[in-house]
């Protein structure tokens, strides 16, 4: 008798991902799907997609997904959750979307304590549009709009979204994770599940920032991109829990 150690989650359908080879957007989709299934809420889940490479995620999830205008996913999710409080509502947003054009929406969704769950994919660049600098691009990192690399003098230091949102009272669960190796992926899944649990218990806003790769626009092989997350991203964006609803007041 054999037992299944791993097979594709039933939260994802058979449509093939359009993501580039080795892009960790795919791993993050799997973790969201697995979490919804394990919590028994896939049938009640409603996703809100952002603008960026994951805009097309509605094609892949076996739950309803609404696509929002650039940066506005938290506002759309707010509307859905307030009208349908019995549903489990999440946003899936990139760093160009959430940390740049959508900075106001995410801050105020957290500030109002909206009972939604945000999965924030930080790949330190605008992926979909071909590699422009994001607020999260590291110092020295090259982008099409910073061909010599980002400098603090010109663009300031990269924005630490998880730390910033953790200062807001309505944000009851805030954690930064990564998916650069199997152990990190296992931890990331625990955090995503807990961020949904925060919503299920009606505690308030929850966000998981996931350090992710963009091998195509970083100009690296997928495997080297995982290495760069560990060597360059994690030292600036430390992993760990910043707020948990058990202790948040």
């Amino acid at each position: 008798m054999s037992t299944i150690v791993y097979k594709k989650t039933k939260a994802l359908n058979d449509t093939q991902f359009h993501y580039c080879p080795g892009c960790t957007h795919g791993i993050i989709h799997k973790l969201i799907g697995e979490s919804l299934v394990e919590l028994g809420v896939l049938g009640e889940a409603i996703g809100v997609a952002s603008v960026g490479c994951s805009a097309l995620c509605y094609k892949y999830f076996n739950c309803d997904v609404q696509q929002a205008a650039h940066g506005r996913a938290p506002a759309v999710a707010t509307g859905i959750k307030r009208v349908r409080p019995e549903n489990v509502v999440f946003t899936l947003q990139g760093d160009g979307d959430l940390a740049s054009i959508g900075a106001a929406e995410i801050v105020h969704a957290a500030h109002r304590g909206e009972k939604i769950t945000t999965i924030f994919v930080n790949n330190a660049i605008y992926g979909m549009t071909g590699g422009q600098m994001a607020p999260t691009t590291l110092i020295g990192q090259k982008a099409t709009t910073a061909p010599e690399g980002r400098t603090e003098e010109h663009s300031g230091k990269p924005l630490k979204i998880a730390e910033m949102l953790a200062t807001i009272d309505g944000a009851k669960y805030v954690e930064r994770v990564s998916v650069h190796n199997p152990a990190a992926v296992r931890k990331a899944k625990k955090a995503i599940k807990r961020a949904f649990q925060c919503q299920l218990e009606g505690k308030g806003f929850a966000i998981v920032e996931v350090l992710s790769t963009c091998p195509t626009n970083w100009g690296m092989t997928p495997v080297n991109a995982l290495g760069w997350v560990e060597s360059d991203m994690i030292p600036y964006y430390p992993l760990g829990n910043l707020r948990d609803f058990e202790e948040a007041k």
């Binding site: 054999s2 299944i4 791993y6 991902f17 993501y19 080879p21 791993i27 799997k30 199997p182």
Partner: protein
């Protein structure tokens, strides 16, 4: 005796080698003798006998190509 059985949905593999990189037994390779419909050499296990069914390869595969069973 093999402890694990790893199967690949070869048609949708993108040859990214994340599974290759994280296998503790180093038994996964891209199969240079095949090209799938997407134009990639799909990943495969070269020595199933050494597989310990840890699941690392499947956890890291962004495209859900891999199923792992423990025997």
């Amino acid at each position: 005796m093999a402890k694990g059985l790893v199967t690949f949905n070869e048609d949708i593999c993108k040859g990214c080698e994340l599974c290759v990189a994280v296998c503790p037994k180093k038994i996964i390779e891209l199969d240079q003798s095949k090209i799938n419909a997407k134009g990639f050499h799909p990943a495969h296990v070269v020595n199933m006998d050494e597989c310990i069914a840890c699941g690392n390869c499947a956890i890291m595969c962004p495209d859900s190509v891999i199923t792992v069973e423990k025997l």
